[in-house]
Symmetry: C2
Subunit: 222 residues, 2 copies
């Protein structure tokens, strides 16, 4: 319940310094401060219990300023989730050219994507709430998943060609199934986050991988 100094929330990025003009710098700065304070307050008091004025007070700006950056509280969380999505793309791009076995790569990706939530379970709860609370945020989330799926599908295709993953499904179907299992695990865990999410993940992956690895008795190692 410590308040001021805990780094509960990861910072999406701090590219403020690089910006050319002072106006743009200040803008990025304010936006970042808003996101930062919002996420901190959400995890402290809960999403609905946090008012927009709470956020602007914490960020030391006027109330109206908030609406210059976000149309609603929900969109702050959307911003965070989109940042998370960026990680998928980066990760996948590396993984495609990796020599690591698919089983390991996909598992590590899952860990990477969820470790923030393991540290702060309410963050996930809040994000879920935010995304389902309106049409526009739901679209955003659908989009986020869609993009992630495209990246994942590349990876799946690559590993199908290497004979690591069963090829009686399209890469997209496999990517989709991966997302379903991963997200399902996260959501159900978030309902009662009593044990580490990483444990659930391991369990989940063990079953899922059995279902998506190449089924035929192919040569093992290479």
């Amino acid at each position: 319940m410590n308040t001021s100094t805990d780094p509960i929330i990861p910072e999406p990025s701090s590219p403020c310094e690089k910006l050319p003009t002072r106006r743009e710098r200040r803008r990025a700065e304010t936006r970042e401060r808003l996101v930062d304070c919002a996420l901190r307050l959400f995890s402290e008091r809960g999403f609905t219990a946090t008012t927009i004025e709470d956020i602007t007070n914490a960020a030391d700006v006027g109330k109206g300023t908030f609406f210059n950056y976000f149309p609603s509280k929900e969109h702050v969380l959307a911003s965070f989730a989109q940042f998370q999505m960026g990680k998928i793309q980066k990760f996948v791009t590396q993984a495609v050219h990796s020599t690591q076995p698919a089983e390991r790569v996909l598992y590590e990706l899952a860990v990477e994507l969820t470790k923030e939530y393991d540290r702060c379970p309410t963050l996930l709860q809040n994000i879920l709430l935010a995304f389902f609370s309106g049409e526009s945020t739901r679209r955003l989330m659908a989009d986020t998943f869609e993009k992630g799926r495209v990246s994942l599908a590349e990876l799946m295709k690559d590993r199908q060609h290497r004979g690591e993953i069963r090829d009686d499904f399209t890469p997209t179907e496999l990517a989709l199934q991966y997302q379903r299992a991963l997200f399902g695990t996260m959501v159900i865990w978030s309902l009662a986050p009593t044990r580490p999410l990483s444990d659930c993940l391991k369990e989940m992956w063990s079953v899922l991988w059995s279902g998506m690895r190449a089924q035929k008795p192919s040569r093992r190692d290479a």
Copy 2:
């Protein structure tokens, strides 16, 4: 099990006629009308766009009356979801003594549990929103899943003994994995319900079943 103390009773349809006293009859009647109207309005206008007064107007009762039955809009949906959970228990009790193969039984259960949502996607969206919108409803949902999982685990155990399902996981772990995949499928589908949920389900099940059926000759690192 303990229905008398439950403040939120998911009575399926019209048990009104059977009730002994006129007071109880009227009460059940009003409650049912509230649920009916609420669900209708939710799917017409969306959950957040529907106000409590909208509901009471549609049900033709005073605004205050609503709070005699539900502490919040969200709890109306909770009531519906709990009713859905009852179906799991009933279904599982039958399935344990069935001669149907596990692969089929578990798939049909999934279909049964989701067909309402296939007809009305917004219902699922609304339920998700409602459940993540507060502590009390989230607890309710966690509880619902927990109970369902206990039922499912019985089924899993039974089928493990028959040698249909792999036995290197506990029945509960398998039940949990089933819920993860099923729910993950539902949630991701609900983000963009462009094709029938039943299609997604079939796809999902095909992969999941590969992962949880009894693995015949295990020649892996003995």
